[in-house]
């Protein structure tokens, strides 16, 4: 079997004296969709942010495609990576945020072309063409010249997905991508994500959309208070969970 895309062994993280992750073990295989669920404060978003080193891991091992996150191992020593090396690794990991975080001073098209042109060194014409193709894919080809403030939340989030895809990532991270959206706009964003999953993209999704997790997820991971309570096939974990804690959570959100 090929090496897993994301592999975590006993990952720990604390903010001051508050321990947010208390030893997370988790594996996401290539091409799989892994959904992280749990109450707020369970550490699921923190874990997601550790994967692209937006948060620094304090203990345990976390690898993406075989590479340690934030460190280089030589013999028995771990060398912390420099900013430039961290940036290099992040190019291959796309991230979509709860609050979209589009660049408000750039148009939708410029949002998508910014990183390919400035980071990957793609020439402007090619980047533009690729960006238009991606905007087409998320159903927003006619909004290319709009500024984020002129787009609805759902449209902004779809531009944000196109922006992440423009760097041709091998892994996509979604941090509650539909939580800030009006209910009627959630569907469009989930459709785009479903389409991505069907295309074989490896995805880690922090979400409260139980339906999406059940339908699209290959694995569901239920977290609470910094530990993985239960993980496995979403059609089992989210339908007939073994743990009482999972059952209590599901009865509240469903």
């Amino acid at each position: 079997m090929a090496r897993p895309m994301v592999h975590a062994e006993g990952v720990r993280k604390h903010f001051g004296r508050l321990e947010v992750l208390k030893g997370i073990d988790l594996t996401v295989e290539r091409g799989q969709v892994c959904c992280l669920l749990g109450p707020s404060g369970s550490g699921k978003s923190t874990f997601l942010r550790c994967i692209n080193h937006l948060e620094k891991v304090d203990g345990g091992r976390l690898t993406v495609d075989g590479d340690l996150v934030g460190y280089r191992q030589s013999g028995n020593r771990l060398h912390e990576l420099r900013e430039a090396e961290v940036a290099e690794r992040r190019r291959e990991i796309g991230m979509v945020f709860q609050r979209f975080n589009l660049f408000p001073h750039l148009t939708a098209l410029e949002n998508v072309t910014e990183a390919p042109v400035r980071v990957a060194g793609v020439n402007r014409t090619d980047a533009r063409q690729e960006a238009l193709r991606l905007l087409e894919r998320v159903g927003l080809a006619d909004r290319a010249d709009h500024y984020p403030a002129q787009l609805s939340g759902g449209q902004q989030q779809r531009v944000a997905i196109a922006r992440a895809l423009a760097m041709q990532p091998k892994l996509m991270l979604f941090d509650e991508p539909t939580s800030a959206l009006d209910p009627e706009l959630v569907g469009d964003v989930l459709d785009v994500m479903r389409d991505l999953a069907a295309d074989g993209m490896t995805m880690v999704v922090v979400t409260h959309e139980i339906g999406f997790a059940r339908e699209v997820g290959d694995t569901a991971v239920f977290m609470d208070e910094g530990v993985v309570v239960e993980a496995g096939d979403p059609r089992r974990v989210l339908v007939d969970p073994e743990q009482e804690r999972t059952r209590a959570f599901l009865s509240k959100v469903l």
């Binding site: 937006l54 796309g94 660049f103 001073h105 980071v119």
Partner: protein
């Protein structure tokens, strides 16, 4: 309360026939009339006052000496603002740095240059030769010296003026730039980092352009302030507009007419300066709802109809 059927003829026949009469603001009219009367009186008395000597004003308004001073004032303003903005941005980034030494140095810089009067700083640079007669570059605590200068020749009045104004401005500008950087949502930096952008690129392409929207209005203020503050450097005879004006009235004692010349020129320059500010605000306001904004003159003119009662407003 019993509801009675209204008579049919009282109901509005056609809405178009109704004329809406707006409220007449008699108080506003009276206040405006009093203010205009007062202004006319003041201007009239100034125009008739023989001590103003408009002929002297006219004689000096376009004199060569005045243009020489204007030129110095303008380049001093531009150069001091450039020094202030570049150094100020550097100090702002240092103050936001996690490195305690850089943070300490930048905080000390702001404390010193914001905490002492500008006049003291100008005089200090002007008389720096009294502190160090010679300036040299070498290795500290040894006798090794690479170059040595005479302080007075290195620091003529114009350079001393530029240093004083530029360093003082940097202290204020750094606080403005810092506020601008901090006004940008941290999510913007995270999004840029997640795309593989390095910190310097993120600052230049994502954070600073957004910070500009917050930075430009107060920096416009600072520029206008700087233009007028250059008048202080007359204390070290830096040959700016004010120095030259003083030179003239110290000889001919036409103090008031020459101060009017100075005031007219400063006013004219400040008026011209507000044009690029409006342009910059529009440029960096891209993507925000209030991007298109009208010039002050236009706002004043469009505000007038609100004051005048109109008969065109109808309920339709």
């Amino acid at each position: 309360m019993p509801v009675t059927e209204r008579p049919a003829e009282a109901a509005p026949a056609r809405p178009d026939d109704l004329v809406a009469v707006p409220v007449r603001h008699w108080g506003q009219w009276t206040a405006a009339a009093v203010a205009v009367l007062g202004l006319v009186g003041l201007v009239g008395s100034l125009a008739k006052n023989p001590n103003l000597k408009w002929d002297v004003v006219g004689h000096y308004l376009f004199a060569d000496l005045i243009f020489d001073g204007l030129f110095t004032t303008l380049w001093l303003t531009a150069a001091a603002m450039a020094v202030g903005l570049v150094l100020g941005t550097l100090v702002a980034v240092m103050r936001l740095s996690a490195n305690p030494v850089l943070y300490g140095l930048s905080t000390g810089f702001v404390w010193l240059f914001r905490g002492t009067p500008l006049l003291v700083q100008i005089l200090f640079w002007g008389y720096a030769a009294a502190l160090y007669k010679h300036l040299m570059i070498g290795i500290p605590f040894t006798t090794v010296t690479f170059v040595e200068f005479d302080t007075n020749s290195l620091l003529p009045a114009s350079v001393a003026a530029l240093l004083a104004l530029g360093l003082n401005e940097a202290a204020y500008a750094s606080e403005i730039v810092r506020a601008g950087i901090q006004s940008v949502d941290p999510g913007q930096t995270e999004a840029a980092h997640s795309l593989g952008m390095k910190p310097a690129l993120t600052m230049r392409r994502i954070v600073l352009p957004q910070a500009m929207r917050v930075i430009i209005p107060p920096m416009g203020n600072e520029t206008i302030n700087m233009l007028k503050t250059t008048a202080y450097v007359s204390v070290i005879a830096a040959h700016d507009l004010m120095s030259n004006i003083q030179d003239v009235y110290n000889q001919n004692y036409q103090i008031i007419p020459l101060l009017v010349v100075a005031a007219l020129w400063y006013l004219a320059l400040v008026t011209v300066l507000s044009v690029p500010q409006a342009w910059l605000e529009r440029r960096y306001g891209r993507g925000t709802a209030r991007a298109g904004h009208a010039s002050p003159l236009r706002r004043m003119l469009t505000g007038l109809p609100g004051l005048l009662p109109t008969t065109r407003e109808r309920k339709g």
